[in-house]
């Protein structure tokens, strides 16, 4: 069965310092299907990252629910949500790499709890590094890398497990034009019939290079609008 991720009337409230509640997201409805590339744009602070975190199961909505193939994953308890999250690869806005580890070690990290064999694990990691053109950095410590290189490592870490849902938050923010073109091209190539891709970006290069975007959402004041 082809995967679908549905956001039904989702709102997220946060308590302010004065005790009042502020809506970060209001009544968000969206349907994402496998094989589609979804782009979420919006100004800084509009709620893009929050929405991605809701899709990834890192946050729970105050109202409404997110379903994956009809299952209300946003309402699940921690154990089941953790298991479901193994299907999600996420590229954070900041790379969140482990400084004491090499590039290769950072990339294989999400695969370790899954019990994958060492041989398979190495193969997957090399594939991910090769795809992003950073296999020559494999043995380097991540502290010695530039911001753009670190971002590519974090993308490799997200795709290493070949997730069914790939979520990326500003994946081209620290890239030069050449790097951005490569990443956008790769993202367009990863749109497989069984994969959902969601990218939040306000980088205009996403509309210049490649054919990633099938659905374009714009977020403003916590409200989501589908542009096409």
């Amino acid at each position: 069965m082809s995967l679908s991720l549905v956001c039904q009337n989702v709102s997220l409230l946060r308590r302010c310092a004065d005790g009042s509640e502020r809506a970060i997201l209001r009544h968000v409805d969206a349907t994402l299907n496998a094989g589609e590339g979804a782009m979420i744009s919006g100004k800084t602070g509009a709620g893009k990252t929050t929405l991605l975190h809701l899709f990834a199961g890192l946050l729970r909505p105050s109202q409404g629910q997110i379903t994956a193939n009809g299952q209300p994953v946003s309402r699940w308890n921690t154990v089941h949500r953790d298991l479901w999250r193994r299907q999600v690869g996420i590229v954070f806005q900041h790379p969140h790499l482990i400084n004491d580890f090499t590039v290769f070690e950072n990339v294989i990290l999400p695969m370790i709890p899954r019990g994958t064999s060492l041989r398979q694990l190495r193969k997957l990691a090399w594939d991910a590094l090769d795809t992003l053109g950073i296999s020559h950095l494999a043995k380097q410590n991540v502290l010695s890398l530039s911001g753009g290189e670190q971002q590519r490592v974090s993308i490799a870490r997200a795709i290493v497990s070949r997730p069914a849902i790939l979520i990326a938050d500003e994946p081209t923010a620290h890239q030069d034009d050449e790097g951005a073109a490569l990443i956008i091209e790769k993202f367009a190539g990863w749109k497989l019939p069984h994969t959902i891709m969601i990218v939040a970006a306000h980088d205009p290069r996403w509309s210049q290079y490649g054919k990633f975007t099938d659905k374009h959402f714009h977020i403003e004041n916590g409200r989501l609008r589908e542009l096409r």
Partner: protein, 345 residues
């Protein structure tokens, strides 16, 4: 107190498991008063994370407690009799503790029952993404705490009471239980024959109930069958233990009127007490669990399949344990009868 490494291990294990259970109980208390399932509030998300830590802590506590109980039993049966002067088996060791360790063992088994119940419910709870039994199971976890504390304190007091310079009279304690041969053939003033018949009638009833519960597991009648099974198993276990010590142990000892449960754990009797009392423990745990799982199936439709499967598994374990136990007590007696043409006693 004897500063034996095994006893020190038991005390350390008990304190560690109590500490872990206490840690889990503080979260369980928070769950009982604050749990709001599916809420997006920070407090609830934090409580869910703490619940997961508490679950791991309680599981670890159960494992450590099981290990320390096993060590305590090994100590009583096979290690301390060589240290306590006059003790030849666990009876002498318990005498050296003024019976405190005997009482502690009873409380420990009760705690172990609640812990097993908690673990059973927890497995059922985690089978559903919405964890419907979380608050219910937190209460079970809290229920164990006072008994756990009592078990650890009683064990500690018993261990502190052991004196390696004070001799005990192990066999005298066994044989002083009866004044004449006539009373040796009675239990609580009732002839042994009555207890033997009661044991076999109840065994037949329990096995029938176990089969009935397995056959009606998927129907509404399953609850009635498992309820009967739970009641009979709770009555059957003490009667089985009494008849074992007073009647059937003779076929292992090949001596009449040696009413001692602890000698069955000695190497000269091939540690036969371990499978015999192990089977009794399985039966007294699984009987009530079979019923309680069936109740969960009736009250929580989301857990119906899993709970029924657990109830069935409990029934099956009980059936196998009961068959193994009856085989282990009956076969030596039958062998004796065939060999010598008479029953012992």
């Amino acid at each position: 107190m004897i500063r034996h490494p095994l006893l020190i291990a038991v005390v350390v294990g008990d304190l560690l498991s109590l500490l872990l259970w206490f840690g889990a109980a503080t979260t369980a208390f928070q769950i009982v008063i604050k749990w709001v399932p599916q809420s997006a509030k920070r407090e609830q998300i934090q409580l869910e994370r703490r619940a997961e830590t508490a679950r791991l802590s309680a599981k670890f506590s159960l494992a450590v407690f099981f290990l320390s109980t096993a060590l305590l039993i090994i100590g009583i049966t096979n290690v301390l009799p060589e240290i306590v002067p006059g003790a030849m088996c666990g009876t002498g060791v318990l005498q050296a503790t003024d019976g405190l360790v005997g009482r502690a063992l009873m409380v420990r088994f009760f705690v172990f029952f609640i812990m097993t119940l908690w673990l059973t419910y927890e497995k059922l709870n985690l089978s559903r993404p919405d964890a419907p039994l979380t608050r219910y199971n937190a209460r079970v976890l809290l229920l164990a705490l006072p008994f756990f504390l009592l078990a650890v304190i009683t064990t500690l007091r018993g261990i502190l009471r052991i004196d390696s310079h004070q001799p005990v009279d192990c066999c005298a304690m066994v044989y002083d239980q009866f004044g004449s041969l006539a009373t040796a053939r009675q239990i609580a003033g009732i002839p042994n024959t009555f207890w033997i018949w009661t044991f076999w009638i109840l065994t037949a009833l329990m096995l029938s109930c176990a089969v009935w519960s397995l056959r009606t597991n998927r129907t509404k009648g399953g609850e009635k069958a498992t309820g009967s099974l739970a009641v009979i198993s709770v009555i059957w276990v003490p009667i089985a233990a009494i008849t074992l010590v007073r009647v059937y142990a003779a076929y292992f000892y090949q001596v009449l009127h040696h009413h001692c449960p602890w000698c069955l754990f000695l190497p000269e009797h091939k540690f036969v007490g371990v499978p015999l009392f192990g089977a009794l423990i399985i039966i007294i745990l699984e009987g009530p669990i079979s019923y309680l799982a069936a109740k969960i199936a009736a009250n929580f439709p989301d857990l119906l399949t899993r709970a029924r499967r657990r109830s069935r598994l409990a029934g099956l374990r009980l059936l196998l344990a009961a068959v193994a136990y009856t085989g282990m007590v009956a076969l030596p007696a039958l062998y004796w009868r065939l060999l010598y043409g008479v029953w012992l006693g």
